[in-house]
Amino acid sequence: MQKQSVFTSRSLPWLLIAPQMLIVLVFFYWPAAQAVWQSFLLQDAFGLSTTFIWFENYSDLLADPDYFAAVVRTFVFAAAIGVSSLSAALLLAVMADKPLRGVGVYRTLLIWPYAVAPPVVGVLWLFMLNPSLGVLAHGLRAMGLDWNPLLNGNQAALLIILASAWKQISYNFLFFLAGLQGIPKSVHEAAAIDGARPVRRFWTITFPLLTPTIFFLIVINVVYAFFDTFGIIDTMTRGGPAKATETLVYKVYSDGLLGGNLGSSAAQSVILMGIVIVLTAIQFRFVERKVTY
């Protein structure tokens, strides 16, 4: 954890870490503490008086069917986004791992969506599938489907999932490709000599060797679905119609800003912090295992 030889100075190291510490304390720890404190308070509509109410905000939340629905919804979103973008990315990565001509070009053409901001993703997909003017929406209508995500909650959810998965393909692709390239060619060759055909080889050799990457990506994708989809939801549906696309993060935002219910919003933030801590812990346990693997 530490070098053998170091500089000896009393004040210099403190000077060096001062900027980081200042920002971390002011903008991370103080607000996080505030969130915890506020989650125990009840504020009246005008912010004039506050009462300390212990865990009432939490118990209200747990009893609130809306909140429960948001929890379930968020996990469904995360699962759907993860499964669809991971499988699409894995398929593409397996193809791009073959000794094809122009693999470098393929990679370039597949990774750039990483750089597209979530709100832009939302706008692009909204435009494509807007019931009155979207090019794809016309196609769906022509097939006899009553496509209207602005009114139909399930369709809105599907729209969010598709758009979110679309953006995440590039990231997953990149890591899958790196994982595949980390598997020695000789292992494939040995399996081929052992008589395993390509498809069987994929499921018995490649896929098991790729599990560290897959675990890692699952955690990353869950974090993405929880937090980074905010921009997509906000530009596409604003959590609607009728809260059909309201995730936990979106609820923190709308309850605090639009509803003005800061105490409940703070309690939700604290619960989210708990979720992040669990996810980070899982990720680190995994990283540790990867080291010894």
Partner: protein
Amino acid sequence: MVENEGIRRYLAHAILWIGIAVVAFPVYLAFIASTQDNAAIANGQMSLLPGGHFIETYYKTLFVGSSGTTREPVGTMLLNSLVMALSIALGKIAISLLSAYAIVFFRFPFRMTVFWIIFITLMLPVEVRIYPTYKIAADLNLLDSYSGLALPLIASATATLLFRQFFMTVPDELMEASRIDGAGPFRFFKDTLLPLSRTNMAALFVILFIYGWNQYLWPLLITTRDDMQTIQIGIRKMIVTSDALTEWPVVMATSILAMLPPVAVVIVMQKLFVRGLVETEK
């Protein structure tokens, strides 16, 4: 191997091209829309080939602004986004370099405590502390300012961890040779450590620039004035009104302009980008 010949190979090419098409289609559509007439788009009669309004639309978007809810031209928003992205990227790199240097190359009381204090911020993304952070920013008079946009996002456990990791791989002898050559902590940092960190800094810069450019929730809260909006916020405001009033060509041109800088960074500096992405996730 032999089996990679023939039909399997064509299949692989085909699947990859389908993937690219799926990935590119929404953007293609956006570009097409940005070159067409609003009326044609609004009544659903959009052509799938570029139209003739390219110059007109982009000129209006960049320098005039849409006639709808946002009165600011996108040029201003691009500038705001650029300032924010650069401040976040450079700021994060600067303060992380310094703190990692202190943690690795010095021994001082509470060194590990400091390390953990920074490390734990990994678990406090801006989404889980938005309103209290907003309140602090407001108390510090940071609303509608560049410092307000950048400062709360500048502390970075990832960058500190990355530099710490890298510094640990620098051989002890290099620092000892420097000391014998008469270099103190400042000289060693400036003459040896910084030049050696160049690639890492560049890779990190690419990732952090994209991160900063694509920030959404925080700018949404902290900016109220139109002339302080970043481009991501501008886009959202453009589609507030009902479909009929939305100026789709302008919205699409804005979207294209919003993704152009980060996408260009990814494509032009692909090597650094991949390296940065992989390194920061370790």
